[in-house]
């Protein structure tokens, strides 16, 4: 990273300790973060990956001063949190998955104007900025509709617009594409590419989707069990963990071809996600984990076509994130000297 990091996290620990009756200490606490370090420079999009419960939302909450760390330091443009939390909050925009964070009986515009006031924008500026963002995020024709009537995609877009109200140099996006369909997700990616990346903001994008990492992010940080297990450039992450492990095809077969096609696919170690359907219009997803390159793939496809099958879709398969996390969890276990390892170029 060439730039001085705009967002800097050093050695952050957080344990949530359940309290019993009258505040008595309850059972052993949950270690949500264990010595997390993170640097994000201006204009950089960083993917924050991790399984559920890895500590992503806790980390974002600490950066927003909604949760206090037990140890370590967090600063945004040299404003330490929590000591100078309000100065830091002026520099941070956050979009969460929680659509209840809006007021459902206000319109989209009224919601934006309210939060603009909380960010210190004078009323005329708030109104102008809200209109501008509603337009940029494709919500201008829905601006005066109640938030409760918005679709899931519109709610997500409004959440992004709210995060950008005060033109923050740091954007924290906590799984903004969760519960969106493919078209909604693609819309949101377009918005990020078109509206957010060019703004020069540094973006932390908590996600579960490896395709988002590949398409949008410069840097990847993987949290597993509250620890950073990978910290490095996206291409390095993809080389290491995003490598192809075969192909997935969608096959249709007329009834007379079902038997031979099925037998052939099974003979090459294919994984049929559903029984092979009878009829060319019925597609069945078939995993081809043993097919490593395109010549091999051509041979398989040619054989299937020769047996009377129709091929409706071909896609390279990626290793699943679950597998990546499992690998990183395994690799990060402390060695004989008691030290775990952090993969990547930064940690």
């Amino acid at each position: 990273m060439g730039d001085q990091p705009l967002l800097r996290v050093r050695g952050v620990h957080k344990t949530f300790t359940p309290r019993g009756f009258l505040g008595r200490r309850g059972p052993a606490g949950i270690q949500a973060l264990r010595g997390v370090d993170l640097d994000v420079a201006r204009g950089q999009v960083t993917a924050l990956l991790g399984p559920n419960g890895a500590g992503k939302t806790t980390l974002i909450s600490i950066i927003c001063d909604l949760v206090r760390a037990d140890a370590g330091s967090v600063s945004v443009a040299d404003c330490a949190i929590p000591d100078r939390a309000r100065q830091a909050q002026r520099l941070v925009g956050v979009a969460t998955t929680n659509e209840r964070s809006f007021f459902w009986r206000l319109t989209g515009r009224q919601n934006l104007e309210f939060f603009a006031a909380l960010h210190g924008l004078a009323r005329p500026v708030a109104a102008r900025r809200s209109t501008e963002l509603l337009t940029r995020f494709g919500l201008e024709s829905h601006a005066d509709r109640l938030f409760r009537t918005y679709s899931a995609g519109m709610k997500k877009r409004l959440a992004l617009a709210r995060a950008m109200l005060h033109e923050p140099p740091v954007l924290l996006l906590d799984e903004p594409t969760t519960s969106l369909d493919a078209a909604g997700t693609e819309d949101l990616h377009d918005l990020l590419r078109r509206e957010i990346v060019p703004s020069g903001a540094c973006v932390v994008w908590a996600t579960h989707r490896v395709e988002e990492v590949r398409a949008l992010c410069d840097q990847v940080i993987v949290l597993v069990d509250g620890e950073v297990r990978f910290d490095g450039a996206t291409d390095r992450f993809m080389r290491r963990h995003g490598s192809r492990v075969g192909y997935e095809i969608e096959v249709g077969a007329p009834s007379e071809a079902v038997g031979p096609v099925g037998a052939y696919l099974r003979s090459i170690g294919a994984v049929l996600h559903d029984p092979l359907g009878a009829g060319a219009d019925v597609g069945t997803r078939v995993g081809l984990p043993e097919v490593r390159d395109e010549p091999q793939l051509s041979e398989v496809l040619g054989k299937c076509l020769g047996l009377g099958a129709t091929i409706r879709r071909v896609e390279p398969m990626q290793v699943s994130l679950r597998q990546v996390f499992a690998n990183l969890r395994e690799e990060g276990r402390p060695d004989a000297s008691g030290h775990g390892s952090v993969e990547g170029g930064h940690a």
Partner: protein
């Protein structure tokens, strides 16, 4: 100040829009106090309006006028103490954390929703007093309204101490607010909301003497029923202002500690 004024306006606009979007609920709230007024009108009929030298004599009025002012003042008590209700709503709705992520002093986020409630309460008070006077003959002809308003503001400030403390408690324990329960019960039982303190046995009167609510009811009644000026109710006013001056910073500090604890426990937005 400008920033605070802008925040107040933003909260009032938001709350007014949300409140008026529930039209039936809004109307019921605005006119709901009418039932209480009617009920006490009939209870008042059982009392002797010509009785003199009784506990009401210091206010120079009949029971219905006395209790009407008590009901209205209790509404403001509920507004001040009820800050925690609005916090609970924000926690339940899920909007609290997002507001706390904005660069605003957390205490403002907790207190400012009360401004709309206060304005609404004033509207409700006007409706109840107007109905009490026009329909049921309450005698407020001697009222010193400016002095009454000053007492009312001091009362709201004093009651807010309890409201802010309640808010802090709710942030930490989420449900079950002992302060609100205690204050509203004490107000009803010993502070003179519905009957004069002079009717109480000595030991309860001594408890009443240390409650700011007692001075609020007394001061407001003296100005609204008897036309007393501020100098006549200086003791009531001094107690309320003094309580607010000492209590508000202390309550705000306790709330600050509660916010810190909620953040450390990671339970700011949970309910």
């Amino acid at each position: 100040m400008r920033r605070l004024a802008s925040l107040i306006m933003a909260f009032v606009r938001r709350d007014a829009r949300i409140a008026t979007s529930y039209k039936l609920h809004f109307a019921l709230q605005l006119f709901g106090g009418l039932f209480t007024v009617v009920m006490f009108y009939f209870i008042a009929k059982m009392t002797d309006p010509n009785a003199s030298g009784g506990p009401l004599s210091q206010f120079g009025t009949d029971y219905f006028s006395f209790v009407l002012v008590g009901i209205v003042a209790t509404g403001f008590l509920q507004t001040g103490v009820g800050l925690a209700d609005r916090l609970r709503v924000a926690m339940g709705e899920g909007s609290l954390e997002m507001m706390f992520a904005c660069p605003v002093r957390p205490i403002w986020i907790l207190i400012l929703p009360a401004i709309w409630e206060l304005l609404f309460q004033m509207g409700q008070a006007v409706v109840m007093i107007a109905l009490g006077v026009v329909l049921f003959g309450a005698d407020l002809s001697h009222a010193n309204w400016p002095a009454g308003l000053v007492l009312l503001l001091a009362t709201v400030a004093a009651y807010s101490v309890f409201g802010i403390l309640s808010t802090g408690i709710i942030l930490v324990i989420k449900r079950g607010d002992p302060i609100r329960w205690l204050v509203t019960e004490l107000a009803a039982l010993v502070a003179g909301a519905y009957f004069p303190v002079a009717l109480l046995p000595d030991w309860l009167e001594r408890i009443a003497a240390v409650l700011p609510m007692t001075y609020a009811y007394h001061g407001i009644r003296m100005t609204v029923l008897k036309g007393a000026g501020l100098s006549d109710v200086s003791v009531d006013l001094a107690v309320l202002v003094g309580f607010a001056a000492i209590g508000l910073p202390l309550a705000a500090y306790c709330c600050h500690l509660a916010i810190g604890k909620a953040k450390r426990d990671g339970l700011l937005g949970s309910f």
